[in-house]
């Protein structure tokens, strides 16, 4: 038995919005793999819940005519990894979410929950950030779209306003077309683990595959919220695919990240990981794009 207050079950998005307005203090419950655990631990004990688990319209991955990939907020990690659209166009996201927890967690946990709980270690977050994903939030005034970087306000805080629920994650065509990415999760063990550092890098090469048309680098746990290394990305645009470029990416991100000491890992170790993982993920992303790093 869970120690909760009233549980309201929404069957549709408008119903969920009504419930959000009527019960502003209630916690939104999606897959349950975070909220129900926090109820057990006491952190959210006694709170009222709005379960959106039954809104089947929010499940599934689809593609719009302009190429935008739309992931319903209640799509589970397992279904994202197995989606043909994701496997074809956004392989790195499918791989990133296949590193969450264990199989049973991936069969229940949702991408909406993973982003809305606002934690910096979310395995989906850095890859979504690295693809300029957009969160669709639906409230009493209808839907609005927020770039995921602005969606994160602080540790555990996201831009879900009163009356709203997150209904989809959208990845515009320009964000994934011609890009190849790689995500690395560093944890103490291979499964059932929270990332010590997560790093997602994707690149777009010039037509001759000799230079970088663009690179996007995102981190989890390198700051209070998932973050991008914008300055490094800017500096590296147009760079040649050389070992020097790889080193400059590594030292560049060190200027931008600000991880902290925690019981999981000291700050120095995290800094080392940021540098190494950015370099490794970059090299792999270049390889996947058909490029070659030269001396």
């Amino acid at each position: 038995m869970f120690d909760t207050g009233m549980i309201y079950e929404a069957k549709s998005v408008p119903e969920a919005v009504q419930m959000r307005l009527a019960h502003p203090d209630a916690v939104i419950l999606a897959g349950g793999t975070d909220v129900l655990i926090q109820i057990r631990s006491g952190k959210l004990a006694g709170r009222e819940l709005i379960s959106i688990h039954g809104i089947d319209a929010l499940r599934g991955v689809r593609q719009e005519e302009d190429g935008t990939i739309v992931i319903g907020s209640l799509t589970t990690f397992a279904h994202i990894s197995s989606s043909p659209i994701i496997q074809e166009h956004l392989r790195v996201l499918g791989e990133a979410v296949s590193l969450v927890g264990g199989p049973q967690i991936r069969a229940a946990g949702t991408i909406g929950g993973n982003t809305c709980n606002g934690v910096t270690s979310a395995d989906s977050a850095s890859t979504l950030l690295a693809h300029d994903a957009v969160c669709e939030l639906t409230g009493p005034q209808g839907a609005r779209q927020v770039p995921i970087e602005q969606f994160y306000l602080g540790p555990g805080r996201t831009d879900v306003r009163p009356g709203e629920i997150q209904t989809a994650i959208r990845i515009p065509a320009a964000s994934w077309k011609g890009c190849q990415g790689h995500y690395i999760k560093y944890g103490m063990r291979g499964a059932m683990e929270i990332a010590t550092i997560g790093c997602s890098v994707n690149v777009k090469l010039t037509e001759d595959r000799m230079h970088l048309d663009g690179v996007r680098i995102a981190f989890g746990v390198a700051g209070p919220v998932p973050m991008r290394a914008h300055r490094t990305e800017e500096v590296m645009r147009g760079a040649a695919l050389t070992a020097e470029t790889v080193r400059r990416i590594g030292s560049g991100v060190l200027e931008e990240v600000h991880p902290r000491d925690s019981w999981r890992a000291p700050k120095d170790m995290r800094l080392h990981l940021c540098r190494q993982m950015a370099e490794d993920a970059f090299v792999e992303a270049v390889k996947r794009s058909g490029g070659e790093i030269r001396e």
């Binding site: 379960s51 039954g54 049973q104 291979g190």
Partner: protein, 180 residues
């Protein structure tokens, strides 16, 4: 709070069942309390150990962090549903016995449900893949090797393939004389 109850109808091990549950109940609570399916273990209750795993609509999930009210209209399978109609053990259960993949048995039902769930797909997995597929379950007795061996054995059996030679047999065959 005022008490909230709800009628939940779902198919459990092939039979449609209905009961009145407290909305705060987990699926573990419902399966054990209302239906006496005590193979569903109450382990960590926070989705870490996998002892409560059941198959819901073809996917293996931890029933301890799944609300009973979410089961409405779902098809649920527990270990009780794996037995053959005459009550004898399934091939997977028998393999666990034969390979000594059980000691105290607390984790066993969860492992069996997980393995049943992915073996159903009829694929052949490498040992590394099998380890990852079984990673959501903790076993404090066996050290996992026997469990892996049992699952692998059934995987080959069900796909009509011969068993790959065990490492030990290979070593025995190819190792230099002094190692034998």
């Amino acid at each position: 709070m005022s008490k909230q109850y709800k009628l939940v109808t779902c198919t459990i091990n092939g039979e449609e069942k209905t009961c009145m549950v407290d909305v705060r109940a987990s699926l573990t609570d419902m399966l054990r309390g209302e239906y006496g399916l005590t193979s569903v273990k109450t382990g960590c209750e926070v989705g870490e150990c996998g002892a409560c795993a059941v198959i819901i609509d073809g996917e293996c999930v931890n029933s301890c962090i799944y609300l009973a009210i979410w089961a409405e209209g779902k098809h649920i399978t527990t270990i009780e549903g794996l037995n053959r109609p005459d009550g004898s053990l399934s091939d997977l259960q028998q393999a666990f016995v034969d390979e000594t993949a059980i000691q105290c048995g607390f984790c066993t039902a969860g492992f069996l449900m997980e393995a049943e769930c992915f073996l159903e797909k009829g694929k052949i997995y490498t040992d590394d893949e099998l380890r990852r597929l079984l990673a959501g379950h903790l076993c404090r007795c066996t050290g996992y090797d026997n469990i892996l061996r049992a699952v692998r054995k059934v995987m080959y059996q069900r796909n009509g393939l011969p068993q790959p030679e065990e490492a030990e047999t290979l070593i025995a065959k190819h190792a230099p004389e002094w190692r034998k």
